[in-house]
Symmetry: D2
Subunit: 415 residues, 4 copies
């Protein structure tokens, strides 16, 4: 009986989704895909939370999501959708026409964000006037929190999930070492005193959301809620959060394949991976500073899974003609019996936004579920969705998936 | 204290290994590799049982193995080793020279086998006079058992493991349906009455070994000990056995990769795999009848892991110039979010015998261990080593490996 | 001055194109692509005759083509176009809508063809009632010729080019050996006496067209105008013709790559090629009888270019999910200095109809040009467009292209 | 009659070969391979000059070559050969043993070279004491010329060919712009006045050889005899020379494949090529300064063949485990009919030294032939062997090969 009442409640629940970078390829694909599914135009392929095993959790239906967010460009949702349709052919024009009204409505919920400490390459992408950039930090936080609360009130939302899909910020060791990274007290002081050189945009956003009690998801390699200070805040405010860097393509395959070599005691001599892609993300990554953040995230994985050091080379190159169709070639050189050298190669041809978008929806639903269960802090059971899952050392994809399955099973028999 | 005494015992144990097809590529590589390792010329790469986790089991040292077996060709071990060295360059001539004496000694333990019901293609490979072929079945069994017992006595062996590495027999549904396949009583009757059309060579060998109490390993896709009757016999005689068809290349990768698509809810639209190879095994598989047995073994796996039916095509072609360097190209077509079609391809370039040989040694040691533990019947914990593990439905490579790890851990803390 | 008058004439010329299999993927793509170009919606990529060097020939403009033809299915041009759009995404719906009226008009010029001697697999594809199938041959020829002449008169066409794009007929040695294959006299006798087992549909069509004085192009591996008898007819009637089997994908690459190994004296040890595709053509080729015709056409090329015999394996497999996106993997094993074995592999991912269609347009324009120049018989200068160019032994793609360039240059300076 | 006398002369001719970098992978492979062929142990695969068409030129037999040269390391020829055997398995130990005496004799003809202006990375490779480095330029030239003449006298050689196989020098625009690059007078002045910052080692060597009348071959991307001043010198001294940068792997394939896209009017959208290799050459190229010279040489080719600008990315990465087995993955994105994007990819797995060595022998024989014919200056007919053939604009491999064939044919009918 209790279970039934709960299910009813979930079905009528309205969940807000506030996305930083809502106009990007992944953000737009989340919006378009959700509405295609609502209209029954496409299958639910790619959504883990739509598989049988998740049924007992009664996650919020996709129909009940309401979208809003920040961007730094002026295009409308529709314009972004049409642009992707032209570039990647992943959307059908006929289907798009059927959801145009729904997409247009989202425009009302989109505001301009900030590019503070995002570096020149990202700043150049901005076509909107970013007024937040000129505010002191405490003001910026207040405005962001206002935006979130107004959004919640306007749509009478039960909860809002805050998602970071913005372009990768340039890597800067500093942001992990400043005092404000290491204690919540210092963090709050830094905001109050407007120490604007110490906080990247992703962390300002994360602070604003979590401080308000909204679950936070960081799908990018930027710092977001990774610091000790932010983790403290999440516990204090009773908020679930997780990140970082969605595991969608080459790295997913890597974390799946590397264990095989362990299972057969075939030492890896070298693993050279080359990624080519042509979307705005690729453009940002062609700046060596932004690329560093990404590759840092990719490289650690192999050493972790293998348990020994080997020769790893990972490259990301911008090839405009590919648009969002990221192609990766990995050459794996390994040693077998009698020290014989052998080779495995793979070629991955996937559309990045298409691979990422359903995972965002999975994360949103699971974050909302955690919140409803009174969980707080890192949602470690979601490790399998991230390249650099915060707080998790095991990068074996199978073990990570098992963790998620265990969580789901545990909660399935809970009520 | 108990543990220590046991370790001592294992160290002084002498284990016999009797291989059908000892002169083939895999057999020869087992012999050469074991002696290279004994002499410290090469690492133990490829051997699962040499990894840290297996230490507590005190498996029999590779130094204590004594080899013998059957073949249908007249070449000496040395001639076979030189031939492989020329074809695949996996052995070094310098190293071979250092173990020549050891290899020469094995020649004394090699006898001519039988090709009964092995089909024309295999028969054509035989260059030796196969006297067993003309005997009635009961006589053949007696001779085989005599060979095994003499081998054991001659070298004062503590145990003998019987391993089938012979060329793949042609697939014949009949051998699984005759009365002698389904009851031990009928099987023994068939032997007594010389129903020679009802039993393939692999089953005659398996019967002979298990009936004598010797653990049996079937590394080929042939029937061997797969029938209900043979499983009955193994239980009755208290003998561990396992098969079939070693998982060494494309199929290993398949059973490792397919789960990834499940973990992300990415439906497989089609999986087309093409294998090219050029060794004697490839020659035998170029006969459609023998190939059928192999492909049957390969195809079932995907459907099992995915849990739904998809379009699977698997081809094996004989390309002589490759010799034992089997190359596979797999094209995996899958569907993601918004029903978008994407592609992953892999190319596998491995030396078959090099991949198979260490697994044989792993199986031998584990079979001996099971026997010493009083286990009998199917060694299901070894499923991860086989394409068609008898008695195991789960083909997910990770789950299978976990089964082995669980077995090892359980036994590590046992004493 | 003469030149200018000619250019004017070409510009006002109306050229009919009569296609057997007009409703297939290639046929439909020819229709759609031509109209897209007319409307300026797409570039002229893929069309050789649109490159600079062809300018002086003043070929008939694409705007002046009028289409008609035969098919064995009842779908309209529009239905076929929409079907391809859904399957391969190569057409844009927006663009299609802009040419709908033009496509609809073509429906008036489409009649039902014949499947005589085309084998069961092709017969099964037929959804229309094929009345021609029941006529005696002489009647069938008369009707076909009537169709062509009515088409010409209806649109006041200056010339009509007859193009075979029908599914590959099953290979039957017989059709090349019957008396009617070897002398025109016997051929005409066979038609008169209705020896209907001796002529495949492709040859009946070719006879009808050439006998009427219409240039004939065979883009399929079927026999068409290949026989001695047909070649005699073309000379007698003063008609240019050419075939057979368009060189669009793997074979094109093969005939381009193989010479490289000659240029460096790197002997090919083996060349194994695997093609997977999923369109109706793939479906027909999944019948071993029809596949044989195709592979026969593909295999000869390598031996011809290399000048020595090597191990060649070519496979074509039907993988429905790929639709028209044919994917090929070729593994080329070669020997270098000190007899060292090395490997080159390529993967080709092309849309078959997209690769074929512009070549059809090139052939049509060049056939019309030849006719206008008073040329007759085989158009050997078009060899580079065919897998099995009739009358040409040299399969080196570069040499073949040079032949075309020489023809074009010769004719450029002619007037 | 005249012809016969000539053939006799060629057969008894003794040709000296002086190699800079004789101890490197390519140099060692030239030595080993030549002696394997002399002894009849291997075929002449890889040698263009051993194909039928070259017969009438009566090139100097491989048996008559005498080797010497410079290096900057202290290993003997035998040590180098054994090292390669271990790393790449391209030599057989059995065969090596049969030519050990011959290899040992070459040690007498090896002297230490110079690393002047070769950059730090190359300097670090030097294990020998390089006395030439401290000499003024005019002294250095004198010593080099002395070495060459002593070598010639010692073995009573009819001619000596000077070959540059040293590691790639770092690219420095300056060396092409200094006065000494642009006039022979200035060059000779620079040597006399010891302007040691203006000349890279490769040019000093080239000057020394050509000034003495010895044909010069530059198989590396270094400058060598490329400057206007050096070309002047070659004409003045009546010496044939050619370079630069041997076309052995990915670039060879590129210059073979790119024309195909022209032949079909398929515009290239992007061409991304990734090379991984692990030999000493790879180590040197891992220094960005040295890599620049190489990539500069690789990139120009595509634009030249295509005739339009496209997006080209070429990477070379050092992956030690591969040793000399260079592997390249090229992703070619192109546009077809109806602006459809399609993809071709290739993977090249070749052993660099094995691919290069026979071309060195071809060049040596052809340079000697040119000299014997009284030819001087650039040997443009050898363009097909170089990535950056000096004085040749056409990079189409087929056209380049045709140039060579034309030369050979012209000279075949000359006498």
């Amino acid at each position: 009986m209790k279970k039934q009442s709960k299910r009813v409640k979930t079905k009528s629940k309205r969940l807000g989704v506030w996305i930083v970078g809502i106009g990007g390829g992944v953000g737009t694909t989340v919006l378009v895909g959700t509405h295609f599914i609502k209209k029954g135009l496409v299958s639910t392929a790619g959504l883990i939370t739509e598989t049988e095993i998740f049924k007992p959790l009664n996650l919020v239906p996709l129909d009940n999501l309401v979208f809003g967010g920040y961007d730094i460009r002026t295009e409308t949702v529709w314009e972004n959708a049409i642009d992707i349709q032209r570039q990647t052919k992943t959307f059908s024009i006929e289907f798009l026409n059927q959801i145009k009204d729904d997409l247009d409505k989202i425009d009302n919920n989109i505001k301009f964000g900030t590019t503070i400490n995002c570096g020149e390459t990202i700043e150049k992408l901005a076509t909107a006037k970013l007024e937040k950039n000129d505010m002191p930090l405490y003001e910026m936080v207040k405005i962001i929190q206002n935006d979130l609360i107004s959004f919640k009130n306007k749509y009478k939302l039960d909860n809002v999930i805050f998602v970071n899909l913005a372009s990768t910020e340039p890597f800067n060791e500093k942001f992990l070492n400043v005092p404000s990274a290491n204690s919540l007290e210092e963090l709050e002081k830094a905001i109050k005193e407007d120490k604007r050189d110490d906080l990247p945009a992703s962390t300002i956003y994360a602070y604003s959301a979590i401080d308000c009690g909204f679950p936070y998801i960081n799908f990018t390699p930027s710092i977001g809620s990774e610091t000790k200070a932010m983790q403290e805040l999440a516990i204090k405010r009773g908020v679930p959060h997780m990140g970082k860097d969605g595991k969608t393509g080459e790295t997913m395959v890597k974390s799946n394949l590397a264990p095989m070599f362990i299972y057969r005691n075939l030492p890896i001599l070298s693993w050279a991976g080359f990624n080519i892609l042509g979307d705005r993300d690729g453009q940002v990554l062609s700046d060596p500073k932004n690329k560093a953040t990404k590759i840092r995230s990719k490289d650690r994985i192999l050493h972790n899974i293998l348990g020994y050091s080997t020769y790893v080379h990972t490259a990301i190159e911008y090839v405009p003609s590919l648009s969002d169709w990221k192609t990766a070639w990995d050459h794996i050189h390994f040693k077998g019996f009698i020290d014989t050298k052998m080779v495995m190669q793979f070629i991955w041809q996937g559309c990045d936004a298409i691979l990422a978008a359903p995972l965002i929806l999975d994360l949103i639903r699971m974050a909302d579920y955690s919140k409803s269960q009174g969980e707080k802090g890192l949602m470690k059971h979601l490790a399998c969705i991230f390249k650099s899952p915060i707080g998790i050392e095991d990068h074996n994809f199978h073990n990570q998936y098992q963790m998620l399955m265990n969580y789901v099973k545990k909660h399935s028999f809970k009520d």
